[in-house]
Structure formats: structure tokens, C-alpha cells
Symmetry: C2
Subunit: 550 residues, 2 copies
């Protein structure tokens, strides 16, 4: 039986973020992207989510390299965690490589990073990987055309079609068309914005809106966007230069990315345009621009601190025009709104998502997907990077474009798709899932800990401590009751003494029935107290009985 190509997503299917795809053929394996996801609402206290790396670790001898499509966190954020487990070369374009290096410095890790340009092809093991230029909301993004022994597979990475991009470099549609003509076995394509009809907005249109907001403006202009959106930053700087303003930068990630992209030549900043914030103080407001982090209203970001009067150098007044050149990522709507409201309260004029063409998404809309499908004409189609709603919508679009519905495969993380040159099917599964990162801990917060955190968050907790004799089980001291997050204790005397009475009564009851086993006593205390509190308050705090044996 001939060897099959296996494609396995370890992240990015049925979810937004933590993108990671494995290509496997015989003894050869490559990994495309290694991203993080953001914790959802129920993941209390979790900093980020990474893919389960079990399958990679198990096959570490096979892995020839990690190929990165672009420098966003959901595609490169997990690189340090992968490198701790396996040592393989990383292939990436220059900007992506630079961003990975920044990240590895923070983690004090070294790696073999190999810089590739769009148009180049890397051969490793039985795979030949061609980098193809695409447009996206970060510079230097690529799709990958992966030549395998059973045929050519294209993975788009995140992309859009921008016919007037800032760097003049339109997505390489010709190359996709050439490959399509020669025959593409399978296409794995970004589904993020497939629900949106029509075409995405060109980045250049945002520049026109920005220009309108700079022209004749007498106020200081404060702009926030995603730090990695190099082309947006370039347009802000262009406007500043055009209207004779100096630009100060605040927020660590913004400073880092700007420095890096200037060094690498991805940004062109006219001499003397950038200025240290502290030096701008005395200047007329109409000559100032501040570029800041905080487009998602993140607590403690520079814009957040400005809004809540906690920024050391910037005080917001009615002489400020604040431009939030970004849309809120689902789940961040309220935090962004809170910052907008505070800025308004301080007298600022605030321009945000309700303003026309103030932000352009980096993801293709429905008509762009149709164009790509018509060029690539894949035999098999696998929608990726999206929740179920996006994957199914993308499948429907592909079917409308003439892809045989039987050849459209909606997979899931950990599921194996096996390809021959003629067939594709879902076969087995490999370990996959969400590994939670909390502080320095990777994977030590799981469902039990999260369930407890949720319980504690909802109704708080009560600790009941008694000390009992190890000889005859008699009560020596207590019950002492400590509560947190339940009620304001200073105004709940009755409830506190009621609790003590219930606990004492429960322990006496056990003694009367000659129950001396600690576990039974604890569970009796817990259930009696729980009933009492639910009756009194309709709440269910966590109850922790502790018995000290003396």
C-alpha cells in the first residue's frame, strides 16, 4: 500500500487562534505556524492557550522544520513553547523572523531561524515549500505551496486581496493561478471573514480617512491600532509628515515593533519625524501625534492609562482627537467602550469603529474567497482558521464555486486527513486540545482548577476550621469560620453566628451518633452548612471544612 499524506490541524479549527497544522508523509513532518489563542470567559486567570504538543513531541525525530506564514500572535505566539520541547529550524520571512526573535529574547531562548523571501522554495525531507506573497494586516505575509509526494497542497495563511496595498505589493494572484493550472490537490484556506459579503476594504482607504482627520485639525492627534500593523503605522507617519507634525510613541509592544520594522526597512520614516514623548511637552498641540498601544482597551495599555489618568506623560484634554483605528476583537467590545467613554469624559474627541473606513480587516471577504477558489481550483478543499460557522459557510461558498461537495472536508483539531493523489478522507485522531498557560505554569491549570475558580468567582468561599481530639474525637477548639467573596462579613453578624451554630450542631450530631471518621464529619458539616446558606441567601459558596487533629 502506498504511503499517504496526513494533514492534521493541532489548532485553528473550530476555534479562532492557536493555529498549527502538521503535514506528515512517511518519516517526514513539517509544522505550519505555532500560534496562541486567547482564553475564553470561563478560563479564569488564564493568560493564554497553546496547542497540545503531545503529537509533536512524540514525533520529534520526524520534524524537519516549522514554517511561519506571518508574525501575528495567533501564528507565532507558541513558538517558544514548541522550542522548549523540540529543536528544529524555523523558516519565516524577514519581518516574521524579527518578531519571533523579539519573542525568543523575552523567553531567553535561542533558535535556528532561517529567513526566506516570498518566491523562494525550501526543500526539506520529502516536502518542497514555496513561499507566496499575500496581503494581510501585517507586512511580509505568505501563503505556502507545499509539494508533497501525492500532490501540491496550498495553505493560504491569513490573507486578503488588496489591489492598492501600502507597499505596492499586491497578493501574487498570478502564482496561485499558475499552480491552479498545473493542478492543486488540496487548498487549506483562511475562513475568518467568509461570512462577510463583498470585498474587504483596501488599507489605502484607511489612509484617506486618516488624512481627512489630520487635515485642518488643530488638536493633538492620538492614534492607536494593532502594534503589528506596520502599514497602518506607516500611513499615520505619512500623515504626520505631510501636515508637519512630530510623532511620539508609547506602549512597549508599539515601541518594539516600530523599532524592528524601521531597522528591517519595512517602514520609511522621514528624518526628524519621530520624537521622544518627553521632548514633545512644550510643543503646540497641533504639531503633535502620539501613536499608542491599547486598541483593544487592554487594562494597563498606554491608551487605557491615558483614559484613566494613569499615564505619566500624556494628559487627555479637549485639545485631543483620539483615533482608534481598529475594530474590537469579539469579546473586547466592552473594554474598548469603557476606554472610549473615559476619553469622552475627559473632553477628547473620539473617532472609533462607528466612523467610516477607519479600519480595514486583514481577512478576505466572500468575493475574494471566490476569486482564490477560481484561480486555485483545488481537487479537495479544507476550510481552516475559523469556528464551525465560518468553516461551514466557507464550505458552502466552495460548493457554489464548483468544488465537489464530497471533496470538501470539514475537519477538527486532532483529526487526521489522509490524502493520496486521488482521494482524501478523515481517518484517525491524534492527541490535541487546549493547554492553558497561567504565569509560568504550562498545563497545570486544567478543568478541576478552572471549575474551582468559577465556583469561587460566583459565590466566594467559606473555610470552617475545628480542632478535634485524635483520641476520642471530641471538639477541642472552634469552629472558626473565615469567608471571602461571600458576603460583607462586618454587616453579616447574624449570618456568621448562624453558621457557627449550624456547624456546632452538625458536629454534635456526629458525636451523638458516634461518628468519628473525619471524612464523614466533614461532609456532614459541608452539606448542613450549604443547605443553611442556600436557604438564607440563595447562594452556593464553596465550603471547605478543615479538621485539625490534636
Amino acid at each position: 500500500m502506498a504511503e499517504k499524506l496526513k494533514i492534521i490541524a493541532l489548532g485553528g479549527l473550530n476555534e479562532i487562534g492557536k493555529n498549527m497544522t502538521v503535514y506528515e508523509y512517511g518519516g517526514h513532518m513539517i509544522v505550519v505556524d505555532a500560534g496562541i489563542g486567547f482564553p475564553d470567559d470561563e478560563m479564569y486567570g488564564v493568560d493564554m492557550v497553546i496547542p497540545d504538543l503531545t503529537y509533536l513531541v512524540k514525533n520529534k525525530e520526524k520534524i524537519r522544520g516549522i514554517f511561519l506564514t506571518h508574525g501575528h500572535e495567533d501564528h507565532i505566539g507558541a513558538v517558544p513553547y514548541v522550542l522548549r520541547e523540540i529543536n528544529v529550524p524555523i523558516y519565516a520571512t524577514r519581518l516574521t523572523a524579527g518578531l519571533v526573535r523579539l519573542k525568543l529574547e523575552e523567553h531567553r531562548l535561542k533558535a535556528d531561524i532561517r529567513t526566506v523571501e516570498a518566491g523562494q522554495t525550501i526543500q526539506t525531507g520529502c516536502f518542497k515549500v514555496e513561499f507566496i506573497h499575500v496581503n494581510h494586516s501585517i507586512a511580509d505575509s505568505v501563503a505556502l505551496a507545499i509539494r508533497t509526494p501525492v500532490g501540491l497542497v496550498i495553505q493560504t495563511g491569513d490573507f486578503k486581496i488588496d489591489t492598492t496595498p501600502i507597499d505596492g505589493d499586491v497578493i501574487d494572484l498570478t502564482r496561485f493561478g499558475e499552480l491552479g493550472k498545473r493542478g492543486v490537490l488540496a487548498l487549506l484556506s483562511d475562513s475568518t471573514n467568509v461570512e462577510k459579503p463583498g470585498y474587504s476594504l483596501s488599507e489605502r482607504k484607511v489612509g484617506e480617512s486618516l488624512d481627512g482627520l489630520f487635515k485642518d485639525c488643530q488638536k493633538r492627534i492620538i492614534v492607536t491600532t494593532f502594534a503589528s500593523n506596520v502599514h497602518r503605522l506607516q500611513q499615520v507617519i505619512n500623515c504626520a509628515a505631510k501636515y508637519g507634525r512630530k510623532v511620539g510613541v508609547t506602549g512597549r509592544s508599539m515601541e518594539n515593533v516600530l523599532k524592528l520594522s524601521i531597522e528591517l526597512g519595512y517602514m520609511d520614516v522621514p528624518e526628524g519625524t519621530l520624537m521622544d514623548l518627553t521632548r514633545m511637552k512644550g510643543m503646540p498641540k497641533s504639531k503633535q501625534v502620539i501613536i499608542t498601544t491599547g486598541s483593544q482597551g487592554e487594562a494597563m495599555s498606554a491608551l487605557y492609562r491615558m483614559a484613566f489618568s494613569g499615564h505619566r506623560q500624556v494628559e487627555i484634554t479637549n485639545e485631543d482627537r483620539v483615533i482608534i483605528s481598529a475594530s474590537a476583537i469579539p469579546g473586547n467590545e466592552k473594554t474598548v467602550s469603557r476606554v472610549v467613554n473615559e476619553l469622552y469624559c475627559k473632553g477628547a474627541e473620539v473617532i472609533y469603529s462607528e466612523y467610516p473606513e477607519i479600519h480595514a480587516s486583514g481577512h478576505a471577504c466572500q468575493e475574494e474567497h471566490k476569486l482564490m477558489l477560481s484561480l486555485i481550483k483545488p481537487k479537495f478543499f479544507v476550510p481552516v482558521h475559523g469556528e464551525q460557522r465560518h468553516l461551514q459557510t466557507h464550505a458552502r461558498v466552495a460548493a457554489e464555486m464548483g468544488i465537489n461537495p464530497k471533496n470538501i472536508i470539514i475537519s477538527d483539531i486532532g483529526r487526521v486527513i489522509e490524502f493520496s493523489s486521488k482521494s482524501a478522507k478523515l481517518t484517525g485522531t491524534v492527541p490535541s486540545g487546549k493547554v492553558l498557560v497561567d504565569g509560568t505554569g504550562v498545563g497545570d491549570v486544567g478543568s478541576v482548577v478552572l471549575r474551582d475558580r468559577k465556583h469561587l468567582a460566583q459565590d466566594g468561599m467559606i473555610v470552617v476550621v475545628v480542632s478535634m481530639s485524635s483520641e476520642d474525637g471530641s471538639l477541642i477548639s472552634g469552629p472558626d469560620i473565615v469567608s471571602r467573596g461571600f458576603v460583607y462579613v462586618k454587616e453579616a453578624d447574624d449570618l456568621m453566628s448562624g453558621m457557627k451554630a449550624v456547624v456546632t450542631d452538625a458536629i454534635d450530631g456526629c458525636a451523638a451518633r458516634n461518628i468519628s471518621d473525619w471524612a464523614t464529619i466533614k461532609s456532614t458539616v459541608k452539606s448542613r452548612l450549604s443547605d443553611y446558606l442556600y436557604r438564607k441567601t440563595k447562594r452556593n459558596p464553596m465550603i471547605l471544612p478543615v479538621i485539625m487533629e490534636i
Copy 2:
């Protein structure tokens, strides 16, 4: 000095929800609306938020009545809590009155509810309150024109302008125009959708979309919307009747509201259209419609249970078309998305907010506000019902419409606006704020409890128990360490024994320095353990040292 009219918002300014406005003149007071707000993300475990009622309770002798504009929770939800404190008549239109009665039954409260019709005027104390019909996403909504000794004040309540409403009853623009001609001292107007340009969609357009989704459909149709959206429900029932389908209803609030609106004559359901869900089981799918709760993806709502296979009567298959005829309230985007994804996974076709004209908002957009301002031509303008961004945008729109900017007042909850027949100004403040309702507790969860819940949610907690001799302070037993929500204890042996060592060492250190004061020992244990854990894990669990005195 002549008496002034005071208008004081106790809720609904700088926030969405918990609307409540007080009108006070001399010894007379009326209250407009008594709504709840939804807890924000930081209010762990809180069920709802109501206005601080201190000012009402303090002035209970003055209050002549509560006037309700319509039956949504953010306008009537706090009525039971007000009635527990003060006993006054409630004035409302029939449907609103019916919904309040349902609510009071749940709370086992009785009240003096007086039914009023649009067009009627109620005189009470020195106020004459005229009810004026408006369009909104619930039937029987009114604005109030309040004649006071210093002049006429109009409070719009929530409204939109719908020239083709389902009940044929267009907002009474003529009456607003007549009052405008005679002279309106002040207008308090809904700001919810003022950021949106243009006009809101007519409810009838949603009916046309629904019709398109019913026509030729062979699947079972499941529709969810806000239970109180009587006209939307009417349109679903009309479609069902037109295409020969039976309608089953699931979800308690949906059943209650439907029953009430049929009883009161707000809905017209053709004989035999409604059917018990259990009786529909054997029928062809193409003959079934199910109306369900869960348009916000609420956990345990009927639609949620269907999606997660927890509904006893409804199993979702590929023979279902699910229509979510609602938009997600900010903050609910992710929960709605989760339900949509699950429905897709079960094979259903899902129609939601991305589908054109599948939902119409109940709030006026910018052009409608301009129309109202042009009719009413108030001397003073007070934007209400909105966050700061909405209030300021509404202020800007009013200024564009020719209202003197000096006469536009952006107030805040608890702030007093004093009106004479010629002037208006912000003067003092009265007690106001958010009172949190958790279970049966009203106001017993405050900032201390919330801070603890947040801390517990983020990093969990650790209880350290020791028993010490009351005579010489020597350690008798322990330390015992219990943790919850911190790490998975079974896989953290090293950390647990490390913690014990640190605690023992801290206590020994105190003994060596002859420290016998419990408070000092506790704080030493806490800080030593906290340092240790942060170094090991970069986390800050709550640490609770308990010393039992033996």
C-alpha cells in the same frame, strides 16, 4: 425665590440599563421607570444591578407615582425592589402593566397598578403626565409629556420611528409637533443608537425576510427572538399560518409573554396554530415551527439546551433551519457564537445576524433623532439612556439641529438639574449608584466582596491552618494546607511540600524572635508564602492563614 423643578436620573446615564428618573417640585415627586441593569464582567456572581434607592426612600412621602414607559427589564425590572421600600401607585399602559403583574407575582408582591392608554393624561400632585404613543421593539410603548409648574418636559422613553409598524400604529409625531409648537422646556431623549447614521429598519422588513425563509422551506423552522418582542412573534406566527405550519413554544419567559399578549389582545393567533410541543413530534418537519428563548445564547435557555443536546423535546438535525432574529447585546457576542457553532455542528442551517434584515433594532438612529428634535424644538436638551459616547454624540446632533449648546446638559446619575421656566443648571447631587443583587441579597455584595471574588477567580486560594498553644505560642499541630483553584494538587507534590516548609520556617522564625502575636505571625506566613509562590509560579493566589488557639 420661586420653586425650581429638579430632574435627577438615578440610573440610565453613563450606562446602558437601570433606567430611573425622578421629577421633583416642592413637595411633589414622580418617578419615571424603574429598571435593572446587567452586571458587567467584573461583577462576578452578581445576578443584576438596580439603582440606589436611598433618595426615593428618604422622600417616600413625596412620591405620587411611578410612571412606566414600556415593559422591558431595563425599565420595569426594579419595580419589585422599589415596592418593597415604598408603596405608591404605578401607571402604565396595558401590556406594560401585564408584564409588571407577572413580575410581582414571582416576587409575591401586590401593588396598585393603574392602566393608562396612550393619549390619556394623569394628574398627580403638581404634575400632569400625558402618555404619547411611540414605536419600539415591544408593543404599547409610550413617551411622557410632563407638565410641571415651570414648563413642559418630554421624556421619550425608548423609541424609534417606524412608518410601517406591525400594529399599524405609527409613533404619534403629530402630538410631538403640537407640543413643540406650544413650547417645550426640556427634552430627555433616548441615545442608544444615536451613533448609527440614517434611519432604523422597519419591523415590517424583518417580516419580509422571515417570509423568504419560510417560503419553500422543507425543514422544521426554529425561531428565537427577545420574548417581549410581541410584533416579531406576531410576524413569525403570521408566516407559520400562511405556510400551513403549527407553532410550538418553549422557554418559560416566551410562554409567559405569549400567553399574556394573547390574553390582552396584543397578538392575533389564528385558531389551531399553536400546538403543544409534545404533540408536534410525529408531524412532518415541514409543518413545524418552534418559537424559543435563547436569542442571547443564555446558558440553560431553551435554544442553548437544544444546541447542547439538553432539551427534552427538541433534537437538532440537518432538517432544521434555526433563525436567530436578534442581535447580540454587547458582551453576549461570544455566547451567541457558541450556540451558533453547536447548532451548525448538529447539521442545522443557522440564520443569524450576518443575514440581511433578520432583526430590527427598537432604537432611533441619527436621522430619526433629528426629526424628533425638529418637531419638539426644546429649549433645553438632556440626552439620556446611554454611555458617555452616546450622550456626547447625541449632544452634537442636537447642536447641529440648532439647539443652543449652552442649553444642552450632559448629566450623570445622582446629579440634580434644576429648571426654572427660563434656566437650567446642574446643581447638587443625591445618593446614587449600583446596588448589586445576588441571590436573595440586595446590596450585601459590595466592592470588598467583588475584589475578593476577582482575586479568587484569577489565581484561586490557599488556606494555611496551624494550631498553636495559647500558653506559650508553640506549634501544636499543622501546618495543614488546602488549596482550590490554584494548581492541580495531585500533580503538584513538590509545590505542596515546598509550601509546608516555607510556612514552618516562617513560624519557627517568629518563635525564635519571640513573636507571639497572632496577627504578626499570620502576616509573616502570608508574605513569606506569597513570595515563594510568585517566584515559583508567577501567580498570586489568595492566602488565608488560620491559627487555632488551643
